[in-house]
């Protein structure tokens, strides 16, 4: 099977509002897939269910063929499902080095070892250094995250998710709010992600979506409106009406 | 048995008047004011002084207790409470514990550490029986006053403009501010009202709970139970919580005196675990 992540008939409602409405979704292995939709379409709710922040009302989710619907958030991460957040969720008092080291140590199963020294762990040091270099954080690894420029913080979001060595990586609007000057570096980072990682990009920025994605799913009112290649989507009249047409005005 | 129930209700009524101000401050500004009991103590001492030094009758000293506690509340709110709203719960807790300590030691210094007493007028002393239920006159008086207060508070909270603004502000202060409701002034007023009620409760409670400088510490836990169990978004929540607490405490001690105060603490923890937002909290999305 070449499916990395799949949902079956996924539903989520808050009170009377249905935020996710019978969504069947498939993310192929190694995919560069984008999930788009207008504000309030239920994109983030969908991602939150995938990662376990929200519990679905019904339906199920599989990762590499395994049912993960009932797993905790951290168990999903350990099985290879990592994410970034639309609004920065960083460890404000840590340095990039510490943050990457934390994710790496949890992945290596060091997290429950109370007497291990971080610096004496060769594997941890090597892999932490690798991530820091890949995401060009090496020259600021010692500064407190809260003091870094916003673009760099977005970069750390991705680095921290990537440090979990995911098979599926969910990027929730990675470029949101990043100033133009820092944007290029960020997009390059996204483009450079290795091929064996399946990436689901949730994005508003059509420029980024069309440059990055090989496949697009359009979500409107919690429902899948259409799915296909970027070209197909660009041509689809329903999509244009519901979404693209709107976005040109923005 | 019914007599005990009656005693418990009277006790719960006083707890309600003491605690309801705290629940509104907590709900409105999300502020944990452990020093609430200090205002109650202030009211109690004012009543004692008014009766002993000024020779005022008991009934006249009650409004005095209310006013003085409210006045001190409004001044303190302006001067030192306001900067605390933005701080963390932990800071607020530490701050108000500091205030409690100061109040306890300060009262000790000013008034001495002994229990204070008041003399009730003759018509409030003693008891009578109706259908075999012994009814203490004073307890009946307390129930009547506090019941009236509870009803008028509920009316004020739900029916008046002040009340509807207050409810809006409790629900979401930011939105309320956006709607042009003067949240700060509203809060100052509510704070004063809450303190005044505490003061009144302190005065009414002298006969039932006693009054000495350690009052705010001794009863802090009772107020907190009323608030945490009753929730912070209504008048009825704290009211039923106070009733429950008063009756459970009194009946528990009557039936199984051995376990003493233990029951209510266990009750609080169990309730907090099962209903972390309070027993009577409205469901919020």
């Amino acid at each position: 099977m070449s499916v990395a992540l799949q949902t079956f008939d996924l539903c989520k409602s808050f009170g009377g509002i249905t935020a996710t409405d019978h969504v069947d979704f498939t993310l192929e292995k190694g995919a560069r897939h984008a999930l788009i939709g207008p504000n309030g379409a239920g994109k983030t709710t969908f991602v939150n269910q995938l990662t376990g922040v929200l519990k679905p009302s019904s339906g199920c989710i599989t990762l590499m063929g395994e049912d993960i619907t009932k797993l905790t958030r951290e168990a999903r991460v350990q099985r290879g499902l990592a994410r970034t957040f639309q609004i920065n969720q960083l460890f404000a008092t840590m340095t990039p080095l510490e943050m990457v080291a934390l994710v790496t140590s949890e992945r290596l199963g060091r997290g429950s070892q109370p007497f291990r020294a971080l610096d004496l762990d060769a594997e941890l040091v090597e892999q932490t250094a690798e991530i820091l270099t890949r995401f060009r954080l090496d020259d600021m690894m010692d500064r407190t995250i809260a003091t870094l420029p916003y673009g760099k913080q977005r970069q750390i979001e991705i680095a921290a998710a990537f440090a979990a060595r995911p098979t599926v990586l969910l990027l929730d609007e990675p470029a949101a709010g990043v100033p133009e000057a820092e944007r290029r570096e960020l997009m390059q980072t996204v483009a450079e992600l290795p091929d064996d990682v399946s990436v689901l990009l949730i994005e508003h920025d059509m420029d980024l979506v069309f440059r990055f994605a090989t496949r697009i799913t359009v979500l409107v009112n919690g429902r899948v409106l259409a799915e296909g290649t970027p070209e197909e989507m660009a041509r689809d009249p329903a999509v244009r009406a519901a979404y693209l047409g709107e976005s040109t005005h923005v | 048995m019914l007599t005990i129930l009656f005693d418990g209700i009277a006790y719960g009524m006083v707890l309600f008047v003491l605690g309801c101000g705290l629940s509104v401050t907590m709900g409105l500004m999300n502020f944990v004011n452990l020093a609430h009991g200090a205002f109650a103590m202030l009211g109690g001492y004012v009543a004692v002084l008014a009766m002993q030094r000024l020779g005022l009758p008991f009934l006249a000293s009650l409004p005095l207790a209310f006013l003085s506690a409210a006045l001190v509340g409004i001044v303190l709110e302006r001067l030192i409470y306001r900067p605390m709203y933005a701080k963390s719960h932990l800071d607020q807790v530490m701050f108000s514990i500091g205030l409690v300590f100061m109040a306890v030691a300060g009262t000790d210094w000013l008034m001495g550490s002994t229990q204070q007493f008041i003399r009730l007028p003759a018509w409030l002393q003693g008891r009578f029986e109706i259908a075999g239920i012994g009814i203490g006159r004073y307890r009946l008086f307390v129930i009547a006053i506090c019941g009236l207060l509870a009803i008028s508070l509920q009316w004020g909270f739900t029916r008046t403009r002040f009340g509807s603004r207050l409810r809006a502000a409790v629900d979401d202060a930011r939105v309320a501010r956006g709607l042009g409701i003067p949240v700060n002034r509203l809060f100052a007023l509510t704070f004063a009202l809450g303190c005044g009620l505490a003061g009144l409760g302190g005065a009414l409670g002298i006969e039932l709970m006693g009054l000495d400088p350690t009052f705010p510490l001794k009863f802090m836990i009772y107020f907190l139970i009323v608030v945490t169990v009753g929730g912070t978004s209504s008048i009825t929540g704290p009211f039923f919580a106070a009733m429950l607490l008063g009756v459970a405490d009194v009946v528990g001690k009557y039936l199984v005196p051995q376990v003493g105060a233990f029951i209510i603490y266990a009750l609080m923890v169990v309730l907090l675990i099962t209903r972390p937002h309070g027993l009577f909290a409205r469901a919020r999305a």
Binding site: T51, V53, R73, E74, V77, F85, Q89, L90, F91, A92, T93, L97, A101, L102, S105, E106, R107, R110, G111, S112, Q113, P114, F115, R116, A117, L118, D119, V125, E126, A129, L132, T133, M141, D142, A160 | V32, I80, P83, K87, H89, L90, V93, M94, F95, I97, G98, L99, F101, M102, A105, G106, D108, L217, I221, L224, T228, G260, V269, L272, P276
Partner: protein, 335 residues
């Protein structure tokens, strides 16, 4: 490709966190030297050491794991009663009592951790307070076991290591308490600089991201809470052993409140906050109590209020400046 030297830099940067600072070494030398420097104040020093250990325990959960607690006295009391009862009924060996106190308090911590881990700060404050009050009432009600309001009498300690009798001057007591504090401090220091410590800071900073980084928040917090409880239990055991007496006071609310003040004075989240706070608090208490024995509570309250209203920043910047001076001195000396 990245160079080997970058790995070394990363290693170096990770090491920097746990490296012993000269000021730290100076601190501990002073602590032990105090035995010789202030021979007539060993009893006070002993109390400081015990309070420091107690504060260290709170720092572990408040400063590192971000759990607020208003009922930490529960564990102090648990440790004190466990150690006291062991000495009374089984053996007077201090280390057995210490282990027993830590185990008992740790167990209570483990059992109550599920209650504490849920809910907001406010719920935590109330639940911790409630747990402590319940333990207080339990200790009060089971008077036949604990001595109730009269206190636990007849705690007889054997000499430490079979050699050092607890004397009236507090010589053995101080060295014993300080040694235990030092040892447990070393362990705590090791733990906070380990992957576990890192993950605790992660949970404190941002629970959402922590779980998205693979940290099992609940289990890690429960472990930290249990460890902290055991530390508080150790403090309680030391208290019971060096005073050879346990009273209900060990479970009283003011213990928890004072402890908060200690951490507020010293600052949380760098291990030494509790120790420095304990020293400052006890000296303050002693000084105030000697000139106004009646009203020292007032001054403590005033300090609390002023600290929260803004004095804290001033104190902490002062502490930082002094520490910085020390560091420069230390570095200068090393060269």
């Amino acid at each position: 490709m990245r160079a080997e030297s970058f790995d070394a830099r990363v290693r170096q940067a990770l090491y920097a966190n746990r490296r012993w600072h000269p000021a730290e070494i100076g601190f501990w030398i002073l602590a032990f030297a105090a035995y010789l420097l202030f021979p007539s104040h060993l009893l006070l020093l002993n109390e400081i050491a015990i309070l420091a250990l107690f504060a260290l325990s709170l720092d572990l959960i408040l400063g590192y794991a971000g759990i607020v607690s208003l009922g930490h006295a529960a564990f102090l009391g648990m440790g004190a009663y466990a150690a006291g009862l062991l000495a009374k009924h089984v053996t007077g060996d201090p280390f057995a009592g210490l282990a027993c106190g830590m185990a008992a308090a740790g167990l209570v911590g483990l059992l109550t951790s599920p209650l504490v881990l849920r809910g907001s700060d406010l719920t935590r404050l109330m639940v911790t307070l409630g747990v402590a009050l319940i333990l207080y009432e339990l200790a009060n009600s089971f008077g036949s076991l604990t001595g109730g309001a009269d206190g636990l009498q007849g705690v007889m300690m054997k000499p430490v290591l079979g050699q050092f009798e607890f004397d009236i001057f507090g010589r053995t007591a101080y060295l014993y308490s300080l040694s235990v504090l030092f040892l447990l401090f070393l362990i705590a220091r090791r733990v906070v600089h380990s992957p576990v410590g890192l993950s605790l800071r992660a949970v404190r900073d941002n629970p959402l991201r922590a779980s998205a980084s693979g940290v099992p928040n609940g289990r890690r917090l429960a472990a930290a809470y249990t460890l902290a409880a055991a530390y508080a239990g150790a403090a309680g055991a030391l208290l019971a052993q060096t005073t050879q007496f346990v009273s209900l006071d060990v479970l009283d609310f003011h213990r928890s409140a004072d402890l908060m003040l200690v951490l507020i004075i010293g600052g949380a989240g760098y291990l030494y906050g509790g120790l420095i706070g304990a020293i400052a608090f006890k000296l303050l208490q002693d000084a105030i109590a000697s000139f106004t024995p009646q009203y020292w509570m007032f001054w403590i309250g005033l300090f609390l209020v002023l600290f929260v209203l803004g004095g804290r920043e001033i104190i902490h910047s002062a502490v930082k400046t002094v520490a910085g001076r020390f560091a420069r001195l230390g570095r200068g000396g090393a060269r």
